[in-house]
Amino acid sequence: MGTTPPVNPINAGDTAWVLASAALVLAMTAPGLALFYGGMVRRKNVLSILMQCFMVLAIVSVLWVVYGYSLAFGKGSGFLEPYIGGLQWFMLNNVSTSAPNPDYGPTVPHQAYMIFQCMFAVITPALVVGSFAERVKFSAFVLFTILWLTFIYCPIAHMVWSTDGLAGHSWGALDFAGGTVVHMNAGMAGLVTALFLGKRVGTNKPGMHNVPFVMIGASLLWFGWFGFNAGSAVAANNLATSAFVVTNTATAAAAISWAVMEWIFAGKPTMVGAASGAVAGLVAITPASGFVNVGGSLWIGFLVSVFCYSMVAWVKPKFGYDDTLDAFGVHYTGGLWGALATGLFAVKAINPNGSGVFDGNPGQLLTQAKTALLTTIWCGVGTWIICFLIDKTIGMRATQEDEVFGLDLSQHHERAYTILD
C-alpha cells in the first residue's frame, strides 16, 4: 500500500509558452523598439537610442532578479502593502524553478513567470527613451532608469497586478497586459521628462534618418507583442488564443485608420504613419487583450489612431512640448484609451474575471478611470522628483555643444555611419 505520488501542477505546454513569450517580449525592446526609435532620430543620435534601449535591457534584467520582482510582485506589509511589495524574494529567494506560484501562474514554475515579467519591466523604461531622445546625458539616463524602475514601475506594477495591490486587488481594475502599468506609465514619464528637459536645439520634429528601420522595428514590436499579450494568459490556452487574435486585429485596424487619417488630413498615407498606427493599436489592445472579443478589438483599434493622431498632429504642435518620438502621444494616449475601452468592451464570455459597460457592468469604467488617474499622478509626480534630483546632482541634459555635435560621438565616441569608407 504505497502512497500516491503528489500531482505535479506544472504543465509543460504552459511553461513552454510563457518562456517563449518572455523571449518574444525581449525582442520587442531590442531590436524592436530600438530600431523603431532609432530610425526616427537624426543620424548623429541613432547609436545613443540603440545604446539606451540595449542598456535598459541589461540594467533592468539585473535589478529585476535582485529586488525588482520582489518589490513589484511580493506581498507587502503594513501601511505600504497596497503600494509596494516586500523584499522576501530578494535575489529570487523562494522564487522556485520547479514549483508554481498559484496566484500568478498555477501551472508554470514561479521563475518562468518572474522572467516573463522581467521583460515587461525592461520595455517600460525603454519606451520613455522616445520622449527625451536626442538631448539626455547618458549617465543621467542610467541613473534615471534605476530610480524610475524602483520608485515608479515597481510600485505601479504592485498596485495593479499583485495579489494585494491597491488598484488591481482592492478596486478590481482590469489590466491584462499593461495598459496602465506599462504604457500610460511610460507615456506619462515621457511627457514629464520632455517638459523637464525642454526642447532640443534647432529642431522640433523627428529626424527620420532611416524609415526602413522604423518599419522593421514596428514589425518586430507587432511580432513580439503576441508574447506580451497572449503570454499574459500565463498558459497556452483559449484565453491566450483569444488575446492573440484580438491583438492582431486591433493592430491591423489601427494601422489602417492612422493611414486613413493621414490620407484625409495630410494628403498621403505614409510608412511612418502606418507603423505608428500599428504601435498605437498594440498599445490600446494591451489592457483589453484578455477581456474583449473581436468586435471590441476592432473598435479599440480603429479609434485609437484617431486619438493618437490628434495628439501627435494637432495637440503637440499647439502646446509645443518636445516629445521627440511621441512616447506620450502614442503610449499615454493609446494606453488611456485602452484602459477605458477595457471598461467598455470587456465581456464575461471571453474572461469570467471581467465585464464592462456593454456587458452590463457600468461601474467598471469608473474603476478603470480611477486606476488611470492613480497611474498618471504617481508617475507624473514621481518622475518629476526623479528628474529634479538627477538634475541637481549630475545634471540631466547634455551640454548644448554635445547635443548639436550628436550624442553618438559626444556620449559614446562612436558613429553609426561613415561617408567615405
Partner: protein, 113 residues
Amino acid sequence: MKLVIAIIQPYRLDEVKKELYAAQVNLITVSEVLGHGRQVGVDEFYRGVKETGNLLRKVRLEIAVNEDFVEPTVKAIIKGARTGKIGDGKIFILDLPRVIRIRTGEEGSKAIG
C-alpha cells in the same frame, strides 16, 4: 557673377537657410562633405581603441549670385553659421564666367536667378 561656396557646421544649415531666404537668396545647392580645419577632427573609440583625428562632417553650400547679391549672401551665411567657436567654417567667393539655364538656354545674369 560670383559663385559663393561656404563650408559650415551641419547643424547650422537650418539657420543659414532661414537667413538666406530672408535676404531673398533662394537658390542653393547643398552637399555633405568631410573635412577639418584647425579642429583636426575628433577622437573616436572602437572597442576601447582610440582613433584620433577623424574627418568631421560638414555641409557645403554653393550659391551662384549676381554682383548685387554677393554681400547680402555672405552676410546671411555668417549670421546663420557663426557661433564664435572653432569649426564655424569658411566662405570662398569665386568669379563665375558663365551660367546657363538648361530649360530655356538663357545665359548670364538672367539664368542665375
